[in-house]
């Protein structure tokens, strides 16, 4: 499932013209990867005797993917915020969201 999500996101990033759609495509990619990571963790939970959603704070290996995904989500948020800010500025300067028109840099 996650691969499908990932490919959809990748397609969005590569082919869509509107900047906002590209940003959303990037978000989809990130969600797909994070989801995949958490699903991996489910297998880990299956192995351990403690099927815990809450943190049973004796053993750090069990909730490891969850901690990683938490960090990764925060990073994704920061990246999205930055890109959206840049996109807004671009809109001010170029007056359009169409990425085929925003290519003054050539060569």
């Amino acid at each position: 499932m996650c691969l499908v999500l990932f490919c959809i996101g990748l397609y969005c990033v590569l082919r869509k013209r509107n900047i906002i759609k590209i940003i959303i495509g990037l978000g989809i990619i990130e969600y797909a990867v994070n989801l995949f990571f958490v699903l991996i963790g489910y297998r880990t939970h299956g192995r351990a005797p403690i099927l815990a959603k809450d943190q049973q704070i004796l053993n750090m290996v069990d909730p490891l993917p969850q901690a990683l995904v938490l960090t990764s989500i925060v990073i994704g948020l920061a990246v999205t915020a930055l890109i959206v800010a840049i996109a807004i500025r671009i809109y001010e300067k170029y007056g359009t969201f169409d990425i085929t028109k925003i290519n003054r840099l050539k060569g």
């Binding site: 990619i29 990867v33 960090t71 990764s72 990246v79 890109i83 500025r89 003054r104 840099l105």
Partner: protein, 496 residues
């Protein structure tokens, strides 16, 4: 013994302190940033001494034993990269004192700069794969923000493209890490190589390797992932271009690829040939595209692609001489490419333009810029006795030695073309007649001059790094890469 976390603590602390206080106290940002980079440089030089003594050092974060805890590893490759990164950062921090006065919000620049530096240092010293990803993101995000610093239209567009591509690359890396974790259920680098040695590598690991190659290759601007570089590097302010081109693509790209492929996954001939092939392609395409450029910084950006191709070719050869050449070229390229970018920044600062066809005859007016540019151009083109010559010679010799004559010929051809394009730069910018517009420009301010002179001196003396007195500096880095899977034994041995 416990100096490793300082490489992250100092830049992080400096970044937030500057963000907090620099508005109130004048010049606080400059002083603190330069002090920070200077102390980092001193620490990294000290770390090389430590590595000579102990061969490898492991610092456990929080006292937790790996593989449960995160550990930081200091070995030959690490200390070498640390010295490279911090040296160049120090010089660039000096340079920025004057250059960034043209931009608003100078202290924010320092904050982002130190954050990027913290990220890069973190990548170098970490021994844990997810930690690598976190620091990779810190450095990347800071660099996206820094590229967009001037907020002109072109800069924003370049930064946007760079940010999107960089984020996609990071997602590839994260996916690779996720897959690798599912296979080995550990994140510690030494432990992963241990498990891989026991379990054997199969289709999954090859897929992961491809993912990593794509992700880190984009960060390193390997062809065919190089499309962001010619837009992003010129649009950034000059010290940032120097940082990006001089250290960032090396640390994030080349160092990560080297560490992962050599130490964790374990090299075999397939990976090496892929690396070599990509390296040669980057070399040629970079230099051919560079010939047609009239914008100084864009030309330099294309040359970065080409020179990184050299480094990857050298490292991809796998022989001791090849890796030595590649690693040496890494160091040299940091030095002279930063110098070249700082020069172009000086030109931009004094003239306000980057178009080569507008310049001419600046040799009389800006002697220091012209001379340092000459030194750097000769280094990058590989003219003796500057440092570029030695490293390129090593790489070409290693190619011939391992029987890949075609790659050696390509390397020589690329070198000649590099020489040609820098002759063009020299001719148009510095020699020739002085145009009417530039009659009363002045030489650039003091700090910029100082930093360029320091880098030029290192260029000249860089050739000395091969002589046996200084060779251990490079050799320790080479040994780590050659040890390959022995990395895990070294780390585990040093932990107890």
């Amino acid at each position: 013994m416990k100096i490793l976390p300082f490489f992250i603590i100092i830049p992080l602390g400096t970044a937030f302190l500057i963000s907090l206080l620099a508005k109130k106290i004048k010049n606080f940002g400059d002083v603190l940033a330069n002090l920070g980079t200077l102390s980092l440089l001193a620490l990294s030089l000290y770390s090389t001494k430590l590595v000579f003594a102990h061969k490898i050092l492991v610092y456990k974060v929080g006292g937790w034993m790996p593989p449960i805890g995160i550990c930081m590893v200091l070995d030959g490759l690490t200390s070498f990269m640390l010295v490279t990164v911090n040296l160049v950062s120090f010089v660039i921090a000096l340079y920025s004192v004057n250059y960034m006065q043209k931009y608003t919000d100078k202290y924010r620049f320092y904050t982002l700069f130190m954050l990027m530096l913290a990220g890069m240092n973190g990548i170098i010293i970490t021994g844990d794969l997810f930690n690598l990803f976190v620091f990779l993101e810190i450095a990347s995000i800071s660099s996206y923000a820094l590229v967009a610093f001037g907020t002109e239209a072109e800069e924003l567009e370049a930064s946007f493209k760079y940010a999107i591509m960089g984020s996609v690359a990071s997602s590839f890396v994260l996916l690779g890490i996720a897959l690798l974790y599912s296979y080995t259920s550990t994140l510690n680098m030494a432990d992963i190589s241990l498990v891989l040695a026991q379990k054997g590598t199969g289709l999954l690991v090859s897929f992961v390797a491809v993912l990593f190659l794509m992700g880190f290759g984009l960060k390193a601007a390997l062809v065919p992932f190089h499309a962001w570089l010619p837009d992003a590097h010129p649009s950034a302010p000059a010290p940032i271009s120097a940082m990006l081109s001089g250290v960032l693509i090396k640390v994030l790209g080349v160092y990560a690829i080297a560490r992962i492929f050599f130490n964790i996954i374990g090299i075999n001939n397939i990976y090496l040939s892929i690396l070599m092939f990509l390296g040669v392609v980057s070399m040629l395409i970079g230099v051919i595209l560079a010939l047609a450029q009239w914008d100084v910084k864009r030309l330099l950006a294309y040359h970065s692609i080409s020179q990184i191709g050299y480094v990857i070719l050298g490292i991809g050869l796998g022989t001791p001489l090849g890796i030595l050449g590649g690693v040496f070229h890494l160091f040299n390229h940091s030095v002279f490419k930063s110098l070249l970018f700082l020069n172009s920044g000086a030109l931009d600062y004094a003239l306000g333009t980057r178009d080569l066809q507008d310049m001419g005859g600046l040799r009389e007016k800006m002697p220091i810029t012209a001379n340092t540019n000459l030194i750097a151009s000769m280094s990058i083109a590989g003219i003796p006795p500057f440092n570029g010559f030695w490293s390129k010679l090593l790489i070409i010799l290693a190619c011939i030695q391992s029987g890949r004559i075609i790659y050696a010929i390509c390397a020589v051809v690329a070198s000649i073309l590099t020489l040609a394009s820098f002759m063009k730069v020299q001719k148009y910018a510095f020699f020739g007649k002085l145009k009417e517009r530039w009659q009363d420009i002045k030489e650039i301010p003091a700090f910029m001059r100082l930093s360029m002179i320091v880098l030029a001196i290192i260029c000249v003396m860089g050739g000395l790094l091969i002589i046996p007195l200084f060779k251990p500096f490079l050799q320790s880095a080479v040994d780590v890469l050659l040890a390959g899977n022995g990395y895990k034994d070294a780390v585990f041995g040093a932990i107890r």
